[in-house]
Assembly symmetry: C3
């Protein structure tokens, strides 16, 4: 069994959840926050059998598309920042999903 | 060391927490939501030494009993559902607990 | 790749987040609660390349210092507690951080 720890953009969450359910996958949702942009996102815990891994990953890929956006990240602490405490807006990729696939030693249902 | 990622029904959480503490186990609670029923539940992160694994699993089993309930899951997206967008109520198991046991490579306390 | 599941005291979170960002690390924040003291804390999910592990651990160590505090844990269930349902205040270590380092089999960005 594998546990997928999947961080998805809030815009994609409802569509991905529907698709996961329609395909018979089980999952748990945890509210989370992005480290850089401080935006609310969702961390899905999805436990799947080994042979289902590829099909659930292609489901995530299909439903979570990324694009480029100009953002102004939070100002650095003054001690670090030197003469420019407010970093210039930077182009970051947003909206995609990231997935950590972790091996599950034992899975139990009580 | 093992990390137990344990999803428990909100009805069982207080009793299980008390029992874990009384037995000297340490844990962290994260609020979560069930993928299908959209009900609030709790994900416990419980780090235990390898030799404690069996006794903490039997503690979870003792405190988290499941039963069958008639539920009407959220309607499928219309494109998937065909003539019956509102699925008939289905009998699901609720109230148990699920546990993912994951190997911890290193555990550090600062 | 390694996933660091890091439980930090709320007092240290802002400083640690700033330092992680300044060093170019990516992470996701999840609100959590301590099992014993029932205080709000933060669980950071930090995915790093294998060769970055030591430097991110020393960053956590530098920013999360622990100290001793007198606390009165929640009373035990009456059935367990015997004549002293309200445990005497105990000295516990608070404010440090704990880190579970878990092996990541696959990391995907969509
Ligand atoms: N230190 C840094 N330096 C340069 N660029 C940075 C950066 N931290 C983040 N970014 C960029 O900003 C986007 C939003 O990051 P945020 O941390 O708010 O939100 C992130 C975070 O919550 C999570 N995430 C990404 N990588 C992670 C990792 N290695 N460990 C844990 N969580 C991660 O997924 C969300 C989306 O990530 P994604 O990669 O699609 O998109 C990221 C990435 O393109
Ligand atoms: N796609 C599906 N097809 C058919 N039946 C389904 C289903 N998804 C869920 N169910 C049924 O509904 C119950 C409640 O699921 P829910 O997703 O709300 O709440 C779940 C979810 O939060 C979590 N969970 C269960 N299996 C999981 C997995 N493989 N990965 C991640 N989380 C899981 O544990 C809670 C309780 O699960 P439990 O198995 O006791 O009970 C489940 C299961 O009996
Ligand atoms: N059953 C028990 N018996 C005796 N003393 C106990 C105890 N449970 C907790 N403590 C003590 O109380 C402090 C606060 O614990 P709390 O559970 O509120 O908050 C904890 C909990 O959220 C998390 N944590 C610690 N160990 C953990 C583990 N093995 N698994 C999961 N989470 C853990 O990190 C926070 C800080 O832990 P830290 O070790 O620095 O500090 C702990 C520890 O010194």
């Amino acid at each position: 069994m594998k546990l997928l720890i999947t961080v998805v953009h809030s815009r994609d969450k409802a569509r991905l959840s529907q698709e996961l359910l329609a395909a018979g996958y089980r999952f748990t949702e945890v509210a989370s926050t992005g480290g850089l942009l401080r935006e609310g996102n969702t961390t899905l815990l999805i436990g799947v059998e080994d042979e289902e891994l590829d099909s659930v990953l292609s489901l995530v890929e299909k439903n979570c598309k990324s694009r480029e956006q100009l953002v102004s990240p939070r100002p650095l602490p003054l001690s670090e920042a030197g003469p420019f405490p407010f970093p210039t807006p930077m182009k970051v990729r947003v909206g995609g999903a990231i997935v950590f696939v972790v091996e599950v030693e034992q899975f139990l249902r009580f």
